[in-house]
């Protein structure tokens, strides 16, 4: 791995995540109050939405953006389908749990995306601001796909179709991300300047503490895990590799710059652990969070942060025909 890759791994953001993993594996009682963790996750979503909206207000929108949006949404519907069959076949999950897990892998992880943006920016390939809108639009399709795969088009046991659609489309993450994105577009760079010290200045520091907490939670889930088989672990490692490669190729194919193509790859590779678990607990309470959360948060998330983001960045650079990761 080149200097830039090492620089990324020695960034405080990654190191705090590793600290969290180590502390929990060593069974230290270190713990961040849940209200604080929740507050930090809301802050991160508001800030990333706002920053994306402001960049778009500056740069304007063009055809590439529409292509990226379409690619993201299509991937969100298609990825769960093959994930579902792999989970049922190789993974030996029942239909319900396979659908729930598939929804997680088709959707996206805001924090994985944010970490990737930090890393690609350090490497000199900052993704475009509109990728935030792509991210937001990829949250929900996979939830719908996962529900259909798990339950078919039939009845869903008491939960009305309308309620479900409402929940999926208006889930808090989507509302906050898109709302903040719209605010950023309306307020623009001049309106942003007053709130910049908060939403921009603090961003990486808060990301550090949030990743410390995610490290703690991810490791504790592994230690408590009961339902995890080696087959599921394998899927949680291989699926992000495949999805990431497909997403990156797709991004390069539709003409995105290196950073944005890599970001699309990371969105495809990442598995949700905030928005989708909440939706699953509502829509499929019978599915086992010991499976879907442990896979997405405890295996795929660390794997993406520590390894896959780097691989995807390199792939994007190669496919774009620039051998070097940075200028």
């Amino acid at each position: 791995m080149d200097t830039m890759g090492i620089q990324a791994l020695t960034s405080p953001v990654i190191l705090f995540f590793v600290l969290g993993l180590l502390a929990a594996f060593a069974r230290s009682d270190l713990e961040i109050p849940e209200a604080i963790a929740k507050g930090m996750s809301l802050y991160l979503m508001a800030a990333i939405g706002l920053k994306g909206g402001i960049e778009v207000a500056e740069s304007g929108l063009d055809g590439t953006v529409l292509a990226a949006l379409a690619a993201g949404i299509a991937a969100g519907f298609i990825m769960p389908i093959y994930a579902f069959w792999v989970l049922k076949g190789f993974g030996r999950l029942d239909r319900l749990n396979a659908g729930a897990v598939a929804a997680h892998y088709g959707s996206i992880s805001v924090v994985t995306f944010v970490t990737a943006v930090e890393i690609y920016t350090i490497q000199g390939n900052p993704p475009q601001g509109y990728m935030v809108a792509v991210m937001a639009s990829m949250e929900s399709p996979a939830i719908l796909a996962g529900l259909l795969l798990a339950r078919g088009l039939g009845s869903d046991g008491g939960q009305s179709k309308k309620e479900l659609l409402h929940e999926v489309l208006l889930n808090p993450s989507v509302v906050l991300l898109l709302g903040a994105f719209a605010i950023g577009m309306i307020a623009g760079p001049s309106g942003f300047s007053d709130v910049k010290p908060f939403f921009d200045g603090l961003f990486k520091g808060i990301l550090c503490l949030f990743l410390l907490d995610m490290g703690l939670i991810a490791a504790r889930r592994i230690l408590d895990a009961r339902s995890l088989t080696w087959r599921l672990v394998a899927i949680a490692l291989v699926l992000p590799l495949i999805n990431g490669a497909i997403g990156t190729a797709l991004g390069v194919g539709i003409g995105l710059d290196v950073g944005s193509a890599a970001a699309l790859g990371v969105l495809c590779a990442s598995a949700s652990y905030i928005a989708v678990p909440a939706a699953m607990r509502l829509a499929m309470p019978e599915a086992d969070p010991g499976i879907y959360l442990t896979m997405s948060l405890s295996i795929t998330f660390p794997f993406n942060v520590l390894v896959n983001i780097g691989l995807i960045g390199a792939l994007a650079a190669t496919l774009s025909g620039s051998g070097a990761v940075s200028p």
Binding site: S41, G158, D224, S227, I274, P277, R281, P285, G290
Partner: protein, 102 residues
């Protein structure tokens, strides 16, 4: 001495995401009120959980005071989803003042 009457106290442990559904059922069977308490961690046959609000895996305890009849109606109404939705229900008799309210 203050007069008290006997009512049922029902406590239901439910996922955060199921609270709306459970309280809607309480309203449906005609019980006048309910109260929700936070819960921070637990262990059951499906393993250990912690209040992970970020992931929405936290739980709540829903408490409701009802007449014997309403309590039975509630238990009946909840029973189809008890297992599938991972609810835990306990109930017992309590004395209340101003019994006409429940």
């Amino acid at each position: 001495m203050i007069e008290t009457v006997i009512r049922k106290r029902i406590e239901i442990l439910a996922d955060q995401a199921q609270v709306k559904r459970v309280t809607a059922i309480i309203d449906t069977v005609g019980i006048t009120g309910w109260t929700v308490l936070p819960v921070t961690s637990g262990k059951g046959r499906e393993g250990r959980w912690r209040e992970e609000r970020v992931m929405g895996t936290d739980k709540n305890l829903i408490v409701t005071i009802a007449s014997e009849d309403n309590a039975s109606a509630l238990a009946e109404a909840l029973s189809p989803i008890l297992t599938s939705h991972g609810l835990l229900l306990t109930m017992w008799n309590v004395e209340v003042i101003r019994g006409e309210r429940f």
